[in-house]
């Protein structure tokens, strides 16, 4: 197992190098001159040229990449062209916020999504199942932006129970995490329902029932445990995506996360920040996937990694 983990960690290196190459060259293909954006609307061509030199953008692209890779090896993500702050500082200032939101949202989604999916599967084609299915459909279809604003209007403006946006207390986390969770909960509920339905129709469940086991034990211990693998996969993928920042939710709730940083950097053509954040996002995504793979072993002892 340890060997497997080490091997997986090493395999991250070519993946990250691949991401860095793709990202670096794709960004340079974007129209728009970062030097001009930085120099301002009224800068002279000479001033724009000076900034281009300062940013190293006057050199051939391959040279720029090699120099970037050289810094990357020393774990230096460079400095933001816009703020001149080290990119790692810019990311670090926002990553904990994004992580907090992602953890709470995914926690809420699991808390409500898995039981809803289980109940729905245990009582298929009843009003409970239809209600859960409708709820899930509602959650998936509802634009996050709209839901967020509606929650703000109801809970912040009308009832004044919760703050409309910002950070600072547990109350601030409630609305953005519920908004984010609404989408993920629907996914998890649908996935749980379908895998549970499949599992509940298997022979060993009939055997368990015929042994006279309580229905709760059959459903939770025998069915759910075996249905967990695809659910964990979905949860892992969703969690990885959330770690990349939920731009719309962060925007609506003035949540200072990584999503806004990426968007703002793209709009300013701030290459170092875009490269740094996407690379970190890639790294986190790989790590979450690794964690999910390890979790498979815990859930299903039959799985062995050599």
């Amino acid at each position: 197992m340890l060997n497997y983990v080490i091997k997986r960690l090493f395999s991250m290196i070519p993946v990250l190098v691949g991401i860095s190459i793709l990202l670096f060259f794709m960004l340079r293909m974007l129209p728009g001159d970062p030097a001009q954006v930085l120099a301002g609307q009224m800068a002279s061509p000479e001033e724009i040229e000076t900034i281009r030199k300062q940013l190293g953008l006057d050199r051939p692209v391959y040279e720029q990449y090699l120099s970037y890779l050289g810094r990357l090896v020393r774990l230096d993500l460079g400095r933001s062209a816009r703020t001149q702050n080290p990119v790692i500082e810019e990311i670090w200032a926002r990553l904990p916020n994004t992580a907090l939101l992602a953890v709470v949202a995914i926690g809420l989604a699991c808390l409500f999504g898995i039981p809803a999916g289980v109940i729905s599967a245990v009582r298929p084609y009843t009003w409970v199942d239809y209600a859960v299915t409708m709820g899930a459909l509602f959650g998936i279809s509802m634009p996050v932006f709209w839901l967020g604003l509606m929650l703000v209007v109801v809970f912040a403006v009308v009832l004044r129970w919760l703050p409309a946006g910002g950070t600072g207390s547990w109350q601030h986390v409630v609305l953005p995490s519920v908004t984010l969770a609404s989408f993920v909960v629907a996914f998890i509920a649908r996935m749980t329902r379908s895998t549970m339905l499949e599992t509940l129709s298997l022979d060993y469940i009939s055997t368990a029932r015929s042994k006279g086991l309580k229905e709760e034990v059959v459903v939770i211990k025998h069915a759910l445990k075996n249905a967990l693998i695809p659910i964990v996969t979905v949860v892992g993928l969703q969690f990885g995506l959330l770690l990349g920042g939920a731009v719309l939710t962060e925007t609506v709730f003035a949540w200072p996360g990584i999503g806004r940083l990426i968007v703002d950097s793209i709009l300013a053509r701030d290459y170092p920040v875009i490269q740094g954040t996407i690379l970190i996002f890639g790294l986190l995504y790989i790590l979450v996937n690794l964690a999910v793979d390890i979790l498979y072993v815990v859930i299903d002892p039959r799985i062995r990694y050599e």
Partner: protein, 521 residues
Amino acid sequence: MRQLMNRFGKVLAIAVLAAAGLWPAAPSAQAQGKEIKELVIAIGVDADTLNPQEQTTTLIQNMCDLIYDDLFFQDPAGKLHPRLATKYEVSPDGLTYTLHLRKGVKFSDGTDFNADAVKLTFERALDPKLRVPLRFAIGMVKECVKIDDHTVALKLNYPFAPLGPTLSMTLVSPISPAAIQKYGDEVRQHPVGAGPYILKEWVKGDRLVFVRNENYYGEKPTVAQITWKIVPEDATREAMLRSGQVHVCYKPLPSNLAALKADSGITVEMPLDTRTIFMGLNCQKGVTVDKKIRQAFNYAVDKKAIVKKILFDTAQPMDGPVSPVVFGYQKMDQSYDYNPEKAKQLLKEANFDFSKTVAMRTPQGRYLFDKQVSEAVQAYLQAIGVKIELRTYDWPTYTAGLLKPLAETELEVFLLGWGPLILDADMGLYGQFTCEVNPPKGLGSAFYCDAEYDAIMKDSRKEQDPQKRLDLLKKASQKVWDDCPWIWLHVEKFVIAYSSKIKGMVVTPTEKFYPQYVTLN
């Protein structure tokens, strides 16, 4: 010589008169009110830098004003008030401005504010190695010479009459020399000025917290702490204002203004701005070379309808080439009111080729409803038979096309905004319509170039007599208005909403507001 001396006398008198007025009346009058512990202001963007010389965003310049203070303050009526500089004198040839600095002032780190600090500020602003996006605004300054501890002389390359108001720009706000020594370029993260506030905390993407500078030379601010809360979404800023989470909402959603105005708990201010929004028409290339066609395009567009239906009255149709709030504005006699029949007639007279497709370009998300405004203009032009192909770009892509020289430019009809940073017409009339600013040297992307116009504008820069200068600016305005290098669209309004308990907010047409002396009822 006598004439020059008379002129000098007048200029000196104006400067001294300006110096006689102390702080703007509104803030001082409110200073007696109850102290506010914290004022929370919801804004849309985080600061990228708090070095005033690197800043182009008006909102962040506004923050810098509170940290650094300015040499002068230009009030909403355009009058200059002394701040860190108490007065200035202009030499008879207009090439030397002598600035008298306020005595007994210290930066918030205890460093003395003096001529050395101002000299260093100008030297840095003029240093081509440093990134100073608005350097062009003081491009006429050759050097800053120290006369004595509290006097400096600005030597100019050429006479520049509106230098007085230019000195009210955040661009030349003095920075503590000790802070520059200590932090170097990182002063952008560690701002130290002589203003009424000090940066206490900066949580990236979330908030900036300013606390009162207890050693401030001026009247003690009534607000002990200002928290700038970063809320990117307009609707959320508004919700936070309505729920009482913030006191001030910067630029709320225009579509909700009617509802905000109807709310007795909220005050909405929307003074006319300096920024004009226009559709540039290439004067040297493509179908818009003919003046009659440019005039026809102006008659074809219903600007009043655009302002009312698309912009929710957060703008006003242009009736002169610059905003009514700037010195040098004059309402033009000739109007380009919506008249599609006249537009068609002019196109006919110009033998317009209706088979040609005209390229229209627009940014998206840069100005208020920019894409929608462009679509409306496209529809109006199509209604008189002109084929228009509209392309939309994000701002970085769009700006790359603006500075291309005539031979390379693809611009025929394009939407852009231009907001002078001081209340003077020069930055608009000179900065957009002289041959000198045709790309790639400047942003006069309509490629308007007229020798007579240039001569008038150059004379206006030399002219120190305000009345004579006003006449010249009006003459230039009339010429360019008739030549139509733009479809004259609208002048934006600066919208700010705040709790109606707040009294004494100073809001300026340069999109700035000064909350330091407000009181809460």
